[in-house]
Structure formats: structure tokens, C-alpha cells
Amino acid sequence: MKNLLLLSLIAFLSAPVVAEEFGDLGGSLRSHDLESQSATAELKNYPKEHDGLQLDYVQQPPLIPHSIRGYQVNKNSNKCLSCHSFKNYKKYGATKISITHFKNRDGVELTDVSPRRYFCQQCHVPQVEAPPLVENTFEPAGAVSE
């Protein structure tokens, strides 16, 4: 309880500082006034293939460096595993699925991909060529980015 009070006090005191840091946003995060239509975001296509998308932070699920249009991942079939499974990865020169994906939520090792890790795109996604929307000073973390 004491901690919570302290935390809210810090939050309260630092609020004006945060607002100042980002400059005058006109009371809003939008870049145009309320009455006008915002500009339509540009549609971006997924490249057919990327070369080596680097990791940005530790434990980041690696990005998918290729197009996955039409890939079906459901209870009937898993297109990703037809190249990335332990059985097939060597044949296709694909990255193999991590052994950590064999563990179920109780920490028990299974003999194949655990159902909770079966739906690849819950964590692994392809990436478009998209520069950051807002200028920022983010730097990839430590050794994973090299």
C-alpha cells in the first residue's frame, strides 16, 4: 500500500515533465485538428524476401523474412512447419523451430510442437519496409542486434 502511494505520487509529479518533453501537441496526439479527416495511411506490401531482419530485443520472436501470402496454419495443416519442422528444415535450408516450442504450459517436454506454440503467427510476423512513424531514439538491445 505504501509502495502504491509512493508510485502514484511519482507519476503525478512527473506528468508535467513528460508533457514538456514531447513539446506542444495541441492537447492531442493527432497531427491535425479534430474536424478534418486524417490522411489515409499508405498501404504497404510485404516484400517477397528480406535479407536477415535483425532482432531488436532479447527474447524477441524472430521476424519472418519472406512473404507468407496464402499460408494456412490451422488445425488441418501448418504450412510453416512443412519447411521449419525438425523433420524438414535441413532439406529446405530453413531455420528450424526452436526446441523451446516443445514444452507445454506445465513445463512438460512433448515429442513434437506443443499446441500452445503451434500457431506461428501469434508471435512471428513478416515485416514491411516501414520507417518509424515518430522519430525516436530507440536502439536495438545489446548483443542480439549484432
Binding site: E49, H66, G70, N76, S77, Y92, G93
Partner: protein, 195 residues
């Protein structure tokens, strides 16, 4: 029996009332009409419109086709039902059409008239199409996708690798890797190349 005999007698004797010219020209004209009519009817059954006039096709497989590359794409070239499911070559087409009479039977007796029934038959129906395409070396794919016209340098690395090796050597054919290119897949347990 009497009837057959009398028909046979008429057919084996020369015509009495009609001239040879009338019979030849008349037969020729009638032939054109019947043949044309037959082909027109055949072509009518060979359209997307005809296929999706049954709800079995419209609500299941046609819906699945819509988001795929063969139906919506950047260049606006579209492959529709008969482009992949009916051979273009005439004799093969007739053979397929005769097979398709079983589908009329299925329609009448409602073999796949609910989504559940269709789902239960999905593997079997898919296997028919896989084995047909495997047997004819993916002919319906190759009607548009010519191997000799492929530029591997313009393909993505993964595609170029497979096309220049397994496909080039004839070891594999299109359908071996491109199952599910236009429709949802059935349970793939035990299918070669699947997890």
C-alpha cells in the same frame, strides 16, 4: 422386337422419298446444328457462373478461392473454376465431363449439401484433385504457367531453388508443393511434405 426389326429394315434400305442431295446436305446441316448445340451446352457448363449456381460450390470452395492469388491479384488476370478443374484438351475434357456425372448424382442426393458434410468429405475430394493433377503432370497449372518461360532470377530465392531443381528434373510436379493454393486444406496428416 418387331419395332427394332422394322427400324433396322428402314435403315438398311435406300431412301425412297428423299433425294440423295437432300439427305447429304440435310445431314450435314443437321450435324452442324447438333454438334454446335452440344458444344455450346458443354461450354455453358464450363463457366464459373455455372459452377457457383449450386450453393455447395458458391458457399464453400468459391468463398475460399476469393482471397487467393488466382482470384485477386495485382495484374487482374484471373483463373476461375474450369481453368484448373477441367482439362482444356477436348478428349480429356469429355472424359472429365463424363466423370462429373457423378457430381450430378451427389447434387441430387445432397452428399455435400451442408458445411459439415463438405468438411467431412474434404480430404477425399482433395485427394481426387491431387491425384488427377499428379497423373497429368499438373497439366491445368501448366496451361498458364510454362516451365520454359520461368525466369528463376525474378523468383524469390526459395521458389527459384525448388523450381530449378525438383521441378526442372521432373522429380516433382506443381501440385506436390502447391497443395491448397486455391482452397482450404483438409487434415494433412500423412500427406507427403507436410508436418
Amino acid at each position: 422386337m418387331q419395332l427394332i426389326k422394322s427400324i433396322w429394315r428402314t435403315l438398311t434400305r435406300p431412301a425412297v422419298h428423299y433425294s440423295l442431295g437432300f439427305l447429304t446436305i440435310g445431314g450435314f446441316v443437321a450435324g452442324i446444328i447438333f454438334w454446335g448445340g452440344f458444344n455450346t451446352a458443354l461450354e455453358m457448363t464450363n463457366t464459373e457462373e455455372f459452377c457457383v449456381s449450386c450453393h455447395e460450390m458458391r458457399n464453400n470452395v468459391f468463398e475460399e478461392l476469393k482471397p487467393t492469388i488466382h482470384y485477386s491479384n495485382r495484374s487482374g488476370v484471373r483463373a476461375s473454376c474450369p481453368d484448373c478443374h477441367v482439362p482444356h484438351n477436348w478428349t480429356d475434357k469429355i472424359a472429365r465431363k463424363m466423370q462429373a456425372s457423378k457430381e450430378v448424382w451427389g447434387k441430387i442426393f445432397g452428399t455435400i449439401n451442408t458445411p459439415e458434410k463438405f468438411e467431412a468429405k474434404r480430404r477425399e475430394l482433395a485427394e481426387h484433385e491431387w491425384s488427377r493433377l499428379k497423373a497429368n503432370d499438373s497439366l491445368e497449372c501448366r496451361n498458364c504457367h510454362e516451365f520454359d518461360s520461368m525466369d528463376f532470377t525474378l523468383q524469390a530465392g526459395r521458389a527459384a531453388k525448388q523450381h530449378s531443381t525438383a521441378l526442372a528434373s521432373g522429380e516433382k510436379t506443381c501440385i506436390d508443393c502447391h497443395k491448397g493454393i486455391a482452397h482450404q486444406l483438409p487434415d494433412m496428416t500423412g500427406v507427403e511434405g507436410w508436418h
